[in-house]
């Protein structure tokens, strides 16, 4: 029984305290303190995660399961980067303390750790992000079909936004004077109308719903009505 009661009590008391703390200047700093505690927990938990990473990948390599080479690369990258960073291998000396090795800047572009960041991490993350361009195109081709009225509206909006975000928008309608009675036909004007009114209204409605959902979920958790996060074993 304690295994379920204690977590509920901790959640309820801290949740209520943090809620009340937002309204009093004497307790408004509590949120930052709790966030710091969480960051400490997360940092300690990282050791757990790293241990799990090692265990799973080592097991994959030792049992030669399909894809074990990927595990080997993962471990090599993990251990190598960790060692270079923690030991500050090749760190650029700190001008104020040139004889103290660990005062050096390991993230300087000329240091090995900085090199790994600049020539491995940056290109890899940029590449993964760049994949989105390809996926957006294939998603647009597959999913943007005018099957009903709402879909037609969506398509029309997509065309307007796509064109107005480029020089094509200025080429197509930029010749219409801004102060003329037909200025509402300019793509940039239509785009501004869509983003500032239609999109903003829809986004606000979704955000209000989300905020209410957060409030209801939090209340269920704080008052112990929803106990699904607890272990039932």
């Amino acid at each position: 029984m304690l295994r379920r009661t204690v977590p509920i009590l901790i959640l309820a008391s801290s949740g209520l305290l943090l809620f009340v703390s937002a309204f009093s200047p004497f307790t408004v700093g509590l949120q930052e303190i709790v966030l710091k505690w969480f960051n400490i927990l997360a940092a300690v938990a990282f050791v757990l995660g790293a241990g799990n990473l090692l265990a799973v990948n080592l097991e994959q390599i030792s049992s030669h399961r399909p894809g074990w080479a990927y595990s080997a690369i993962t471990l090599a990258a993990f251990v190598g980067t960790l060692a270079v960073g923690m030991l500050k291998v090749g760190a650029v000396p700190n001008p104020m303390y040139p004889d103290v090795h660990f005062a050096g800047a390991h993230d300087d572009p000329q240091a090995p750790f900085g090199w790994i960041y600049g020539y491995m991490l940056v290109p890899l993350t940029s590449t993964m992000f760049a994949l989105l361009a390809f996926y957006v195109a294939s998603a647009a081709f597959r999913a943007f079909r005018a099957k009903n009225f709402e879909a037609i509206l969506l398509l029309g909006t997509a065309f307007i936004i796509l064109l107005s975000q480029t020089a094509a928008g200025m080429f197509l309608t930029g010749w219409i004077p801004e102060d003329s009675v037909f200025s509402f036909l300019r793509l940039d004007v239509i785009k501004r109308g869509i983003t500032e009114y239609v999109q903003t209204a829809g986004m606000r409605a979704i955000l209000i719903g989300i905020a209410l959902g957060v409030a209801a979920t939090s209340l269920r958790l704080i008052f112990g009505i929803d106990k699904s996060y607890l272990s039932k074993t």
């Binding site: 991490l121 480029t166 020089a167």
Partner: protein
Amino acid sequence: MTTKNTEQTPDGIRGFFVRLGRLDRRWIFLAMGLSIAVPILLGLRFPEVPSPMARATFDAVEDLPEGSLVLLSFDFDPASKAELQPMANALVHHCAAKGHKIVFMALWPLGKQMADQAIKDVLLEFHGGKYTYGTDYVKLGFKAGNEGVIKLMTTNLAEAFPTDAAGTALSNLPLVADIRDLDSFKLVSTVSAGYPGAKEWVQFGRESMKSDAQLTAGSTGVQASQLFPYYPKQLNGLLVAVKGAAEYETLVTEKYPVDRNAGRLEQGRIRMGPQLVAHLLMIALIVLGNIAMIASRGTQGGAR
């Protein structure tokens, strides 16, 4: 990945479009790759007409008295660098050209490196002669805590950042020694890719800034829809995606041109070429997909 055509496919033009609807996505990827690569290789450029939001961002920096204290927050990482570094560079150049004193910080762990790059590529490259570390600009570095950092800065900057990025106490840096909180800055500008970012600056930082202080933001296109409601009241200026960067670059380089390495301040405009071609490709794909859908109506298992 090619879909086997087991349904009845009509002949002629109609059949062509039905087959087109089942196009292997790898052809689409190839077309997209070419639409981005070719304009870059050919150096396609287009004129940019600044939008009101870009102009407002420009005015927010331009209208400040020379030598004003500004805070630039680099809240993005290498993944969004292609979209956000151009506007960050233009912002740094603009602030430096006006002689503003700049404090750099980051709420994302890798934001510090983004700031370092802007300093190296723009600040020291074009304004190195008149910018000295400690008196004209300071790097506070990254601080963990997300919006908690912003809240701390609204009351006590030194508690949020006891030292700069290199470990020097703020009291030893003339520019920031007497700064108490966010109120001291005439302009706060964030270039943000998500959380924490522009939204958190508006929600937690705006309130404690002086009413005549400026808050501007640059954001990715995906996040921008959440920021439009804040413009122009809480956000004095907003740059959206590469288009916003290109527009802002146009304004800044027209007023403050550089005589070497001009490419460092043209990255946004360079990227507008492939953006145009890619957008046109997407429109063409959507149109083709719909024609394929219409063409396959009535056949067995029409296109989905």
